[in-house]
């Protein structure tokens, strides 16, 4: 990669930021921490950009740095935090984890793009763990509508996954 121009660096940052965050999230379990780790990793590369020499595989380098930082962060936090999930991701290869992080990033964006009402219902169910009936009461709508909206949300999320799968391998 050699010395970055600021534009190349910006492009690289924008390409990898989200997948790297979701990758880090598997270790940190906190979005704030994940973002910090990724930002620090990029800051490190930026500061060393003139001395860093050639990075043969920048992508692998980024993921490895993020993983190392995430791990040392969770080790530091171990003292005052019960690690319920020291992630089971470790038994898969780095390539697989990267692939998974990239798909997670696309899922995140797809959720972002859901129509507001559908997104709200979807998140109440999947994030907050509310039952359909509870959601219906909360939002003053029928259970049927909740089912319907969640079905549609899942369908569009799955379609993105399939669309991208067929785009790459189909």
């Amino acid at each position: 990669m050699g010395a970055f121009t600021s534009e190349e660096f910006e492009q690289c940052f924008k390409d990898f930021y989200q997948p790297l965050c979701l990758f880090a999230l598997r270790y940190t379990d906190q979005v704030d921490d994940a973002e910090d780790v990724v930002q620090q990793t990029f800051a490190d590369i930026w500061d060393k950009r003139t001395t860093i020499g050639q990075i043969n595989n920048l992508k692998a380098y980024l993921y490895r740095s993020v993983r190392n930082r995430s791990l040392s962060l969770s080790v530091k936090q171990q003292d005052h935090q019960i690690i319920d999930t020291l992630p089971d991701v470790e038994d898969t290869s780095l390539d697989e984890q990267i692939h998974c992080a990239e798909r997670d990033a696309r899922l995140w964006n797809e959720i972002d793009r859901l129509p507001p009402e559908r997104k709200k219902i979807f998140l109440l169910s999947k994030r907050d763990g509310l039952k359909y009936k509870e959601i219906a009461e909360e939002l003053n709508i029928s259970v049927k509508t909740v089912e319907n909206q969640i079905g549609k949300a899942l369908k569009s999320l799955k379609e993105t996954a399939i669309r991208i799968y067929t785009f790459f391998f189909g």
Partner: protein, 280 residues
Amino acid sequence: MHNEQEHKWEERIRFVAKHYEEGRLDTDKAWKQFASEKGIRRTIPLRRYLLAIASVALLLVGITSLYLWERSKPEWVMVSTLPDQLKDVYLPDSTLISMSGNSWIRYNVKEYGKTRREVEMKGKAFYEVTHDESRPFSVQTNYTEVEVLGTAFQVHERSASVEVHVATGKVKFTAGQDQEKKSIILTKGMSANYSMETQDIELQTKEKPNYLSWKTGIIHFHGTPLEEVIDDLTDHYNQPVRSRTSIRGERLTATFESLPLDQILMIINQTLDVRLYVEK
């Protein structure tokens, strides 16, 4: 989908949804924050920068050359006359050109008077050139050039010859093709003739008192051999004058002012007992 895949899918949805917050992980926002912390400003890569400079320079060169080309493109003013038409033309420096019939002159408005005053012509024209030593005046025909500083002269370009008469002042008469150019200085009252056939300039020794008759309307003869009288009349009226009898040794002294040709011929015939006529 396979059961295990289905399970993984469910797990991923749960994972992403669990952490999802509206407006988080916004790449552009993250970059802006990062860039401002690190003081990264958008810089244009050098190569593209140079390329941009190069294209702008190229564009400028293009526009400039178009402009220069446009500016150097001659803009001709051309004046021409019908066979029997006489015309006076004033140039921008108030040089006067008196044009005879069946002639044209032209000059480039963009260049005329800048460092030189150049006129091209065909046919016959009398020049009264405004004196200006810093900007030489010249008249060009196909193979000749007359250069002056300020004077009055006439150029008569025919198909086989070019004749120059100087009324006042001094001119430099240059003629010939390419390397074979010859020059001669003519002063007041002198005339010279360049012949296409011999490709040489010949100084006229004989006075030609009537070379300006087309302009003044006055034809003057003083003991002139009748052969020359016939030539001058032919020239002046642009009609072929012939003689039915031998005219050897006959001479004429007379002044004709704005008379029709047949009247002049009648007068000559009666005076000298010759039989001149116009060949139709």
